[in-house]
């Protein structure tokens, strides 16, 4: 019995590199992208703001599964891409790359909402204080953004866990991540213990992540609690 479980675990572990590499890459890329988008949302450019809001609406209004599948299977409808831009084609025909793009765009949309919301929640007095000191927009943002981000950490850590959970969907585009190996084993042995081990591994990852984020938050907000 124990042998069997150990055997399942050793096979499932093989999916861990894909799950972790995708999570880390998507989380970092989405974080950077959403910082840029948050800054752009603070600009005066109306068309730019409208297009960012449209992007957020689309990526938060549709399921992640559809986004992953459309990025992976969609381009095959246009053979012109293969003929004219072979480099782009080789990039988007790689499932890892497609999953990375989909997860990043999806998470960046939600993260921008979180960051922008935190920025809006900073009391008006702070903005006015910066204005009185004669700071321009970029100087003001440099002061206020770190402050806002620290306040956003608790909602942001939820988003990080959603990305890790979202990586489980990439098994639908032939990537062999943790969920992919789970499906492979379930198809072969059909046992519930396989699901329990997979679930345990995901719980372990998410538990560690949320513990880590909690200590980061505690440190970041140390100046607020006496």
């Amino acid at each position: 019995m124990l042998d069997k479980l150990l055997n399942y675990t050793s096979i499932l572990i093989k999916g861990l590199p894909t799950t972790i590499s995708l999570s880390v890459a998507a989380i970092i890329a989405a974080c950077l992208l959403s910082i840029v988008l948050t800054i752009l949302l603070n600009s005066q450019h109306k068309l730019l703001i409208a297009s960012i809001k449209f992007y957020i609406l689309i990526f938060t209004g549709t399921p992640l599964l559809v986004q992953i599948i459309i990025i992976y299977y969609g381009p095959t409808q246009f053979p012109a891409i293969r003929e004219n831009w072979p480099l782009v084609w080789s990039l988007i025909s790689h499932p890892w790359m497609c999953a990375f793009i989909a997860l990043t765009l999806n998470s960046a949309a939600y993260t921008t909402q979180i960051f922008y919301g935190a920025l809006k929640a900073i009391p008006q007095g702070q903005w006015q204080a910066c204005a009185v000191l004669g700071m321009n927009k970029s100087q003001t943002l440099k002061i206020i953004m770190p402050y806002a981000f620290k306040r956003a950490i608790s909602s942001y850590s939820n988003e990080i866990i959603f990305v890790v959970k979202g990586t489980a969907l990439v098994s639908t585009i032939t990537l062999m991540d943790l969920m992919g190996y789970n499906q492979f084993l379930n198809g072969r042995y059909y046992e519930f213990s396989i699901f329990m081990i997979t679930g345990g591994i995901y719980l372990l990852i998410n538990g560690l992540l949320s513990a880590m984020m909690r200590s980061v938050e505690k440190k970041a907000l140390a100046f607020e609690t006496p």
Binding site: I58, G61, P63, V66, G74, P75, N186, G199, L203
Partner: protein, 247 residues
């Protein structure tokens, strides 16, 4: 592409949207009920009951949604099998044997989908409800107790009506999440928007247009829900607005 085919694939997609909405709405109803049960259990004075419920909710929230859906789809027949074969539980002093004849092992995937989605919804919504319970001032409960109302009556007539107002924004957000999670049931062979799109694409060989259509349907449902929720929230805050005008 003949006009006939375009028309028929459009009606097929509309029908599939009905399946998606049916799934989402029934999961919402069952999920709300479960969430209420979870929230009440978590406030239970028996500590181990409260702790077990909290643990269960935390586990569901930490698992990928796709894993929960597929595990339930695979797990329910296994449980039924075990019950039909009969098994013995060794409880401290006595042994309990459970055996029941089951004729039908085919549980419809829609039912599995509803169970999985409502569990997922309930695990998030129970936290919202717990927060909303705390937001009701304890004076309300004390006043009701002084008036001699029973516990159940206090919950139904005093606390629940006030609960919705605090809980509505959170529950609304989780409804939008639930709506998107319904796409996962296509993986357990429910003929929803995603599954229907897949079978349409196998004819048309146009994956981009097909999935774009599916995405637009989801977006449309989301946007309509958001509009409706905004209206509902405004209505639920009606009394508070009145109070602020009076001041």
């Amino acid at each position: 592409m003949s006009q006939w085919f375009l028309d028929s694939s459009f009606t097929l997609l509309l029908k599939a949207s009905g399946v998606t909405l049916y799934l989402a709405l029934s999961s919402l109803l069952l999920g709300l009920l479960l969430a209420l049960v979870f929230a009440v259990l978590e406030a239970n004075s028996f500590r181990w009951v409260a702790k077990t419920t909290t643990l269960l909710v935390m586990i569901i929230r930490g698992l990928p949604e796709i894993l929960v859906v597929i595990a339930i789809y695979n797990g329910i027949p296994m449980i039924l099998n075990a019950i039909a074969d009969g098994f013995t539980m060794h409880l401290f002093i006595t042994d309990i044997t459970i055996q029941h004849n089951i004729e039908n092992f085919d549980i419809s995937p829609i039912i599995c989908g509803i169970i999985a989605l409502s569990l997922l919804y309930a695990s998030y919504a129970s936290q919202t409800l717990r927060g909303a319970f705390k937001a009701i001032s304890p004076g309300q409960r004390q006043a009701a107790q002084v008036l001699g109302l029973s516990k159940a009556r206090i919950l139904w007539r005093i606390e629940l009506p006030q609960l919705w107002r605090h809980a509505l924004p959170g529950l609304g957000n989780q409804w939008l999440v639930l709506l998107k999670d319904t796409a996962l049931v296509s993986l357990i062979t429910v003929n929803d928007i995603m599954m229907q799109t897949l079978s349409i694409i196998s004819y048309t060989k146009q994956p981009f247009s097909g999935y774009l259509m599916a995405a637009s349907l989801y977006l449309l449902i989301s946007v309509i829900s958001q509009w409706f929720l905004k209206k509902l929230e405004k209505k639920s805050l009606y009394f508070e607005q009145g109070a602020s005008y009076a001041r």
